[in-house]
């Protein structure tokens, strides 16, 4: 048996038994009390009547002072065994006659002062006057034991007790039978709840057929379980879908990653191949052109010598293009270092690097204080070397050349500008400025491969920043680089690059 079921059954039976037993016992007690009271009343009444009869019969004996007569009258009491003692007193209160005559000592020698009837110890007493024609002749004293009363009380109590015990038995049988109507459905409900909570089986139903609150409870319970089961199924379904989606996504990511890795490897192999295989024939062109110049110079005419020189120069230029392209490709793939970069030092180092190009030039520099930004020091070094190199290159022919470097900052980013008074550019070609191998000037005017600003753009984008420029033909150009103050993820940079 499950403890919970035992408990509700026992509680119900206990409650019913306690109630019925209490009621029965109280009723029995009331009955007994009532009976005791009425029996005593009846006893007193009968004793009083007897005393009155005795008084009536004893007037003559008292009036004529005949104690023997009185004793005879009293002896009639023999017929009632419950009368323990009787006595007659004369009008002076002196004992006149008593009963039983042979035990005279039990009667008080003189009449008690108290009149009427009362209970005393285990007996009842009546003491009343003997009156004839309004004259008090004496008093009669009657004492009866309670034998009849207690006998009756015993029988009555026994009957009541038997009735109570019988009723309790019937009540127990009834309550045991009646509690089933409540305890059984509750037990069924509890069993169902236990199976749900232990086994997590929401398919369980409480099989309770009842039109009362328990039936309602079971119905609500079943409905709730149904709801839970339904939601559980829905949850499981969406969980499975989610897991599948996740799996799909993961597979797709893996596939994409593998594809990306493969294409990255291909790209790497490609650039490796370019740097080896494309360079070798160039080296040969250049090398043999050089040998030709050294060894057969005398056999060549002016035109021939110019041809050989052109071959050499073209080979060198192509070499430079290949180098730049490779560095540009590497810049997009290489891992970024993260450090706090002092832009002022970067600019100073860039100027030092470019000191050879500045030799013999008159340049007025104005470099304002620059902040520190997070980024890759080597890459940012390249950015500013490129920008300053451009400024120096395109101010060739200006005397003096002016180059200003400065910065503005807001909450999120630092904007550094490099301004020159050089050749400038036509804003119409702005979109070509930062393209790979895009040039706005001829090679005769200004040398270069057209990779510098493309590199600048790629590096700045990888830092999460932007590049833009303003310029006017023959009046100079200003290049702007914005760099975020917080380290930006590589996400947007990859997207852009």
């Amino acid at each position: 048996m499950k403890p919970s079921r035992t408990s509700i059954r026992r509680k119900l039976v206990t409650a019913m038994m306690l109630t019925s037993t209490t009621v029965l016992v109280l009723t029995g007690a009331a009955l007994i009390l009532y009976d005791v009271a009425s029996s005593r009343r009846a006893l007193v009444h009968s004793l009083t009547t007897r005393a009155e009869i005795l008084a009536a019969n004893s007037t003559a004996a008292l009036a004529f002072d005949n104690p023997d007569d009185a004793t005879r009258v009293l002896a009639a009491l023999r017929s009632d065994p419950s009368t323990v003692m009787a006595a007659l007193y004369d009008r002076h209160g002196q004992l006149f006659a008593n009963y039983p005559s042979h035990r005279a000592s039990t009667a008080p020698g003189s009449a008690p002062v108290r009149m009427g009837s009362w209970f005393e110890h285990s007996s009842v007493v009546v003491h009343r006057p003997v009156i004839e024609d309004g004259r008090t002749l004496g008093t009669v004293y009657l004492q009866s034991d309670l034998r009849a009363l207690t006998g009756r009380l015993r029988v009555f109590t026994l009957v009541v007790l038997l009735a109570v015990v019988g009723s309790v038995g019937v009540a127990f049988a009834l309550s045991t039978w009646l509690q089933r109507g409540i305890a059984t459905p509750i037990g069924t409900l509890a069993e169902a709840a236990r199976r749900v909570s232990e086994g997590k089986e929401h398919s369980v139903r409480a099989n309770v057929v009842s039109d009362d609150e328990l039936g309602l409870l079971a119905g609500a319970f079943n409905e709730m379980l149904g709801e839970i089961q339904q939601r559980d199924a829905a949850l499981r379904g969406s969980e499975a879908r989610l897991r599948q989606l996740n799996g799909d996504l993961e597979r797709r990511v893996q596939l994409r990653t593998a594809e990306l890795e493969a294409s990255n490897r291909e790209l790497e192999a490609f650039s490796y191949s370019v740097s080896h295989d494309l360079r070798a024939p160039l080296r040969h062109i250049n090398g043999f052109a050089d040998l030709l110049q050294r060894q057969s110079r005398a056999n060549l005419d002016e035109k021939g010598r110019r041809y050989v020189e052109t071959i050499s120069e073209s080979a060198k230029h192509m070499g430079a293009l290949i180098d730049d392209l490779l560095s540009f490709s590497r810049m997009g793939r290489s891992e970024m270092q993260q450090a706090s970069v002092n832009l002022e030092r970067i600019v100073a180092e860039a100027r030092a690097t470019l000191s050879v190009d500045i030799a013999g030039r008159e340049i007025v520099w104005q470099v304002s204080p620059l902040p520190e930004v997070p980024g890759d020091p080597a890459m940012l070094q390249l950015v500013f070397t490129n920008l300053l190199s451009n400024a120096i290159k395109y101010t060739r022919g200006r005397t003096p050349a002016r180059i200003d470097v400065g910065a503005t900052a807001d909450e999120d980013e630092v904007v550094v500008y490099v301004r020159d008074n050089g050749a400038g550019f036509d804003m119409a070609y702005l979109d070509k400025l930062f393209g790979v191998f895009q040039r706005l000037h001829s090679a005769e005017e200004f040398e270069g491969t057209g990779i510098g600003l493309a590199n600048v753009r790629r590096i700045v984008l990888r830092h999460g920043g932007r590049v833009w420029a303003e310029g006017k033909l023959d009046e100079g150009a200003t290049f702007y680089v914005s760099l975020p103050k917080e380290v930006a993820g590589e996400r947007q940079n990859r997207e852009a690059a």
């Binding site: 490796y272 740097s275 080896h276 360079r279 070798a280 160039l282 080296r283 040969h284 250049n286 090398g287 043999f288 050089d290 040998l291 050294r294 080979a315 060198k316 070499g319 180098d323 490779l326």
Partner: protein, 151 residues
């Protein structure tokens, strides 16, 4: 000055061989240059095996190794040389057209003495060969322990 010992040049490209020889010649390098065409041949020469089983005893004063070669590449030859007790002390110069950092790092990791990116510029190429390759060959001052050919 003692007798000049050989220089071994491992290079698969004939044009590069010719250019290198011309550069060495131009600088009046008196050493005999042994040219091998791939890594396997270089290894046979160094070990006096196979087709070089009958070559005179002695080791080159310096080895110029091209990185990319058929069969066994330059890095592998370098690795084998540096793992060999007898060959470990021969100076090795890696000659390559590659500017790839990983090649350079790998070469030095394996114990190369120098790494020369063959520049497109022939003048610089010659300067590089002269500075690095000829240093050991011309002055004939091999690291201690190198077996000297009998005079």
């Amino acid at each position: 000055m003692g007798e000049l010992r050989r220089v071994m040049l491992a290079e698969d490209n004939l044009k590069d061989v010719e250019l290198t020889l011309a550069a060495l010649d131009e600088h009046n390098l008196a050493n005999e240059v042994v040219v091998v065409r791939d890594g396997a041949e270089a290894w046979e020469y160094l070990c006096r095996e196979g087709r070089y089983a009958a070559r005179p005893v002695g080791l080159p004063a310096v080895v110029l190794l091209d990185l990319k070669m058929p069969k066994i590449d330059g890095l592998e030859v370098l690795r084998r040389m540096k793992s060999s007790e007898a060959l470990r002390s021969i100076p090795v110069v890696m000659l390559t057209s590659s500017r790839e950092e990983k090649d350079l790092v790998e070469s030095y990791r394996l114990g190369a003495n120098a790494y020369v990116v063959k520049p497109v510029d022939f003048e610089r190429f010659i300067a590089a060969v002269k500075n690095l390759g000829l240093f050991w060959a011309v002055f004939n001052e091999p690291p201690p322990g190198t077996v000297r050919r009998a005079a």
